[in-house]
Structures are given as structure tokens and as C-alpha cells.
């Protein structure tokens, strides 16, 4: 872990951006929508891996007491400007020391970057989550139709492969609902609900082009979100709502 350069990992590469318009405008919007009914309010929130604070801005609509842990200093600089009242920890999840517990913890598209995911999830469960708090865990889905189609095209070896572009951005694993729940459970967390976010048949780069046309409407996007709840395994991302496990 010690020799990872998080500033480099989180920068765009020649063939693959670190974050797409699709991520910001579509996926963030619908993760926010999926989380909202479950937020423990009133309460505080911890975001693990806030990157440049774009999702944090959405969380700030519900929470005053926000803490963020982020290992890239460049990212925190950007994030600070957006959410000045949040508390930022420039540190790795392995090293950071937090002085309180949280009713809400979110970790979106981050766990797949981590060297020892179970160890981090253990810290969430044992140190950071309150007894009746919720942990919102979201990862890209190995079985997203867009990805399955890329596998059929021969571009990606198999659904749960880590592609070269993903590796360059620091991905260590590509989760599906079974492997994500395995790691959450190993860490002692209890999965209260399994779901998925956004039925997705096109790749990020296709979505980014498509969003510049009039082919899809906001209502169509809403429809993909709603349909995604009926087919969690066919979503862009998978979502586990977790509670602190009983010992």
C-alpha cells in the first residue's frame, strides 16, 4: 500500500477517463436517490473516498456533520472548495484515525481500489459504524449488461476480470453481488438489503456520447433507474445496505 501514488491513480489515462459524465450526472444522481430512503436522520455521515467532492455535495443536502477520508491530496484540495464545512482526513483507510462513530457511512466505487478490502470493511464495522447505523456500499458490477456485452465482444476476458485500464486506475478486483457480500460478511458486517443502481446496457464512453444527443431523455434515465431495482444483477453498480454485525 505504502508505495501507491493516489494522485496518479486518480488522473485520466490515455484510453480511459477516471470519471465520466455518466458517473457524475447519472450514476451519482441515482446512487443519491437510492440512498435517500435509508439515511439515518438526524445523524452524521462519513464518506470513505470522496475524490473531488462531487458526491459529497449531494450528501451535504442532508447532513451538516460530514467527514471525508481521501488519500489523494489533489482531490481534497478540489473537494474542500465545494464543501467547506466538511472535515477532511488526508490519509489512507488503513492509517486514518477517526475520533467518533457515524450513523451513516458511504463508500461508492472505492472498495475495488483497496489492497485489503476485508481489513477496511472490518474497520467500518468495528470502529466507525454506530450500533444502529447504516453502511452504504456501492461497487461497479461485474455483470452489468454493458460489461457482459463487452465480454461477448472479446474486449474484456470475463465478467469479473480487471481490465488493463481498470488496473491503471488502481482497481484490484471487479465485484459482483456474491463476492461483495462475501467480503462484507467476512468483515463482520450484516447485509440488510441487496440492490443495484441503474440498468445499464451501454458502456461509460457510449453513455457520454449519448448524453450529448437527444436520443435519451431524463425520463428514460429515470426508467433505467427504476428498472434497475428489479434487476440488481443487471445494474451499472451493485449496492449493499449493511448494518453493524452482531457478535
Amino acid at each position: 500500500m505504502s508505495n501507491r501514488d493516489y494522485n496518479v491513480e486518480s488522473s485520466d489515462k490515455k484510453d480511459a477517463k477516471y470519471a465520466y459524465t455518466f458517473d457524475y450526472d447519472v450514476l451519482h444522481k441515482y446512487m443519491h436517490k437510492a440512498f435517500t430512503p435509508h439515511f439515518k436522520l438526524p445523524g452524521n455521515i462519513l464518506e470513505l473516498g470522496c475524490y473531488e467532492g462531487r458526491f459529497t455535495e449531494r450528501l451535504a443536502k442532508h447532513f451538516n456533520d460530514i467527514s471525508c477520508v481521501e488519500a489523494s491530496s489533489k482531490s481534497i484540495e478540489v473537494a474542500k472548495i465545494k464543501i467547506p464545512h466538511a472535515r477532511f482526513y488526508l490519509n489512507t483507510f488503513e492509517q486514518v484515525q477517526l475520533d467518533k462513530k457515524y450513523e451513516n457511512i458511504v463508500m461508492t466505487h472505492v472498495l475495488e481500489h483497496v489492497d485489503d478490502p476485508v481489513a477496511i470493511l472490518k474497520r467500518v464495522n468495528d470502529e466507525w459504524l454506530t450500533d444502529d447505523g447504516y453502511f452504504f456500499l456501492v461497487c461497479p458490477n461485474a455483470n452489468a449488461p454493458s460489461r457482459q456485452i463487452a465480454v461477448k465482444m472479446g474486449i474484456i476476458s470475463h465478467n469479473s476480470a480487471v481490465t488493463a485500464a481498470e488496473e491503471e486506475h488502481g482497481h484490484r478486483i471487479t465485484y459482483s453481488l456474491d463476492t461483495l457480500e462475501r467480503d462484507a460478511t467476512k468483515a463482520g458486517l450484516e447485509v440488510a438489503h441487496r440492490s443495484g443502481i441503474f440498468f445499464k446496457a451501454l458502456a461509460n464512453f457510449q453513455w457520454d456520447k449519448l448524453l450529448q444527443t437527444d436520443i435519451v431523455s431524463p425520463e428514460y434515465l429515470d426508467g433505467c433507474f427504476k428498472l434497475g431495482q428489479q434487476y440488481p444483477d443487471l445494474c451499472s453498480s451493485i449496492f449493499l445496505l449493511c448494518k453493524k454485525g452482531k457478535r
Copy 2:
């Protein structure tokens, strides 16, 4: 509606019971488990169609302030003994007058019995649900694998058919996720989450026999519940978590 005999409809028939061991011991348990993370607490609860109070007993673990509307007098007599502190309205959903609003309203395996479902859902939305309350709506699923298999066997004409036995028990429609959401939306409700309860490949009568053997363990049942959340369309029942719609 006027000439329906709810006491007769809710009694067992020669070829099909009104309620199975599977319903009570499996489905009730897992509906309860699926609802729990969403309960608005503290708060009151209204159960529409409590039958003999078996599910009400489970709700009573969370709520003191419980009201039940039920059209069968025989059923209420049984239910009263189980949950003496609940308030019972012996009336139809069409006629009943309630003097307050509820933070939580549950309606499980009832809407498919009703003559004008949209009208009843409208009352839920317009009259009975608080502004930030939740309505827990569960119906048997036309697309349950057990049912799809029966369709392939030629026993049931098509997934959403109402069988003769169902008709005798007062069913008017067999819902799937699309038709249930259609009616909820028509009534003005807003669907916050779509889910399913219990991955189910065997019919009720098969489950009742199976539960008397050692072929399935409680852990296996838990597994079917968990898997069901990943395949809502392949569950025994479908579950919409609804909010009061914005006007």
C-alpha cells in the same frame, strides 16, 4: 362489492387452502424481515386486511399504536385475542372511516382481492398516509418461478392468470411488478423502492410438505430470502415501498 361474503372467501377450499404453513412460517417471517429496515420509528401503523392477526403479531413487536381494517368478522374475532391492544375496524376498505393518519401502512396479499384496487390505493395516498410515511405493499407475484413452472406444466394458463382456486378465494387480478406499480402510480403514490420477497421455485403445497422433512434447513430459507432480493421478479411476492405522491 356489497354482496361479497368475506367470511366465506377467507375459508379453506377443497383443493386450496386460504393460508399455508409456508405463508405463516416462511413468507410472514421474511416480509417482516424485509419491512423492518424501513419502518418509520417511532410511529403508528395501519394494517389493511389483517385476517386472523398472524402478521399483526409480528408488527406488534415494533409498534404500540396499531390499527387494523378487516372485512371478515370471524377473522377479527381470532385476531383480537392475539393483539388485544390493537384497534380493529370491522369494515371494507371502501367504507371504513379512520380518524387519523399513519406513518406506516402495510397491505400484504390483500390488494389482489379488492374490486377496485386503484380506488383503495387512492385512499391510502390521499387520506391515510402521513406526508413522510411509508406504505408497504406486497402481492403474490405472477412471475414466481413456482408459478412459471406451473404454467409450463399447463396447470395455469399464463403467469398473470387468476386460477379457479384463486377466484374462489376472492382474487381479482394477479400482479407482477409492472402492473402493481401501474396501479400504485395511478393512485398517486410514489414508488421509492421495488423489491421481492423469497426466491421461490416450489408451490405452496410443495413447500408445506417440504417443511415437514429435513430436506431444507432454516439457513436454506434465509438463503432464499437473500437471493430473492437479487431477483425480485423471481420471488414468491413482490414488494413496493411507497411514499405519498407529490402534487
Copy 3:
């Protein structure tokens, strides 16, 4: 049946075309690809509802002995030019008299237009199909994701609804795998295989726009076809491969 004007029904309407570029360039291509491994060769073929002969042209690559039944005279005029060696019957499926049996019979996106589908399927089974022939039956799928999304958008009432535009084009029913098999079985046919054609998350009009951009490649389309075989219920069209039923 007598008073239907098939020339009118098969013309484009203001809001909905009768056939899209998607139909011709994508769906036809992949139906052809899906049928090919099953063709009984050598053998003859009967196409029920050839419209303007666009799919017939693809069949002509495999078969010399081709017969087509079509109720629209305008359509036959166009089709004749394309496949001069085919035999055309200008007639309804109800009235037509054919003087031989066929090893291969195809009916694609036609059964949903017919007044009494079981009666027509009965003629296929009893009169037209050889003892070891194959009947290739394809219909639009009520559960196509594109359609399910439209339902979630509130544009279509429920998955199996017949929309106003579909009604204008003569649709009587919208099939899903359960109802299509029900009608095939009622008619005495035996379903040898159930499949689907083309995983489809966008509507026809969206596809037609998309096909004019560089957002999707031919390889992506191939991927949607391949993935569709793994998710028949999520395909643009559903496909039953039928044999003559045993009596």
C-alpha cells in the same frame, strides 16, 4: 377478420413507423442468425406474413423452394420483385389453401396481428408442417427492457399492453414467453426450444437514431445478440422453435 384493410394497417402512421431501420438491419439480421442452426436442410420453406419480402430475401440464401402467404397486395407487389422465384399467396391465413406441407415454416412479428392466433397456429400444426419439420415463431416481447423502461416512464400502461400505435398497426395482443407458449401449446404444437433475439434496452425510434451515430459498432450489436441468448426474457423478440405435436 373480413373487414380488415391490410394495406392500410401495414403503412406508416404519424407517430409510429410500421417497420424501422432497426427491424430491417438489426432484428432481421439476428433472427436470421438465430434460425440458421435449426433450418431443416434440404427442405422447403413457408413464410407466413412476408410483408415486402425483406426477410424473405435472407431466407432465399438457404432455400430455393419458398412460399409466402401475405394479405396485403401492395406488399406482395414489392416482395415479388425481390424474390421472383418465390410462390406468393395473396390471402389471409384463415382462408389460404396450400397444396403441400413444409419442412420449415417461419412467422416473425405476425401472430400478434392475427384475430384468432390459436386457430392459425392450429393450421400450422395440422395442415402445413411436416412430421419432422420446424416452425420458427417470433413475436415482439412484452418484457423487452426498452418496453419495461417505457412502462416505468408511464408511456405504456403495463408490459403486455397493446399501445394505441400498435393497435393502429393491427396488433391484437403483446406476447411474452408464457402467453406465446400457451397459444402454441393450445394449438397442438410442441415447443422444442425457447429463446430470445437481441438484448434490447432502447426503443426502436432510439435505435434508429443511434444507428446513425458512431456510438454503437457492429461488434456491439453482435454482443447484444449473444447476450440475448442468455436472457431470452430481456430480448427485443421472443422465439419459440416448435415441432408438430404428437397426438
Copy 4:
């Protein structure tokens, strides 16, 4: 490969049988049913891994010219008695030399045992399959509901894990539709159709007990087979119908 003892691997273990009643009476029956429409007739057939000849017996109903390759001498001894007219090669897939090509090649629940699956599939494609022959490739499915439920129960680590019992029986990998197609394609084969065999919500040992009760009927089993074709990813086994790839 050299030091594997195929007689030992193919014997029952304390906690897991090598073959279950379910395998013989249910899975074999339905694989046979799934293959039949695709058999190239007239033609010869090669079975790779015939074990004790139970599936070979079913193939013998269609084919006179049958060859079997099998590395366990004990198994061949048993198989020989059942299908005396077949030609048996006691050898590994790596070493065996065959003197002709085959119109039909079947390999069921075998590839997951092989040390270098792509190398074996290459021999199928390059040496053994005729130009227009079919290769019937079936493997146990990582995503079978019964297995997914076991994963949720914590008995199996994740869907595609190789369990200890599977390892003892010589399994090297647990395939799903994406990884199986990846290996077939790598070997040069062309996948003509993707399917699944038998919708399966109960484990083998549960099925073996269940088959001794009156809870499930033969018609119910047929229904599970039919439904499986609609949900290939939720089947007991996955099935790729392959052709020789074009070079």
C-alpha cells in the same frame, strides 16, 4: 496431468458423491432432451469423458457409430457392458489419438476437471470436429440458484469458487456462461447458441432426498427444464452449442 489418478477422483467421497441420482435421472434426461434437436443426423458421435456410460446409453438411441474417450479404466469396464458396440479409448484427452473426425462431439460435466481446458478445446476444434459438425459443451453452472443460495448461506465462498469436495473430485474451475464462452472462443470454436439446462433451486443432495418423496412430479421436472431455457444463467448446467471456428 501425469500424476492424476482418475479412478480415485471418480469415486464417491465421504461428504460428496461423484454422481447423484439427480445427475442420472434428471440432469442426463434433460441434457439429452436439450441436445436432441441439434444432433447432426445421420452422423457419428464422440463422447469426451463417458465415465460409466450412463449418458452414452442415451446417445446410443440416436447413433450407431459411437466413440468414447475416458481416462478411468474402472469406468470404461462398466461402460463397455452397457454399450458393447461403442469404441472406447482408455486415455487422457491430452494424449489420445483419434483416426477420424466427428459430426457430433459431446462433453458434459468434464471440462471443469481438465488441467488445461483451452488446450483440449483446441483439439476438439482443430482435430476432431468436422467442418459442419456440432460440439455440445455442458458444465455445472457457478450461478445455479441452488449454488447462489449456498453462497448466501456461507457454505460456498462465492459463485465461481471450487469447493473442497469439488477439488477432491478433480474440479479445477467452476464455469459460468462468460468464462465458458471465453475458453471456447480462445480455442477457436464458434459459439452458435448459449443455453442452460434445468432451473435448479435445490442442491444435489436435496434433490436426491426430494426425488424419494411425492413432493415433485415428473411434470414438475419437465417444467423446470422448460423454464431453464428462459433463464439459462439460473440453470443447474450451462450449455454452449459450438461449431468449428472459421480461420
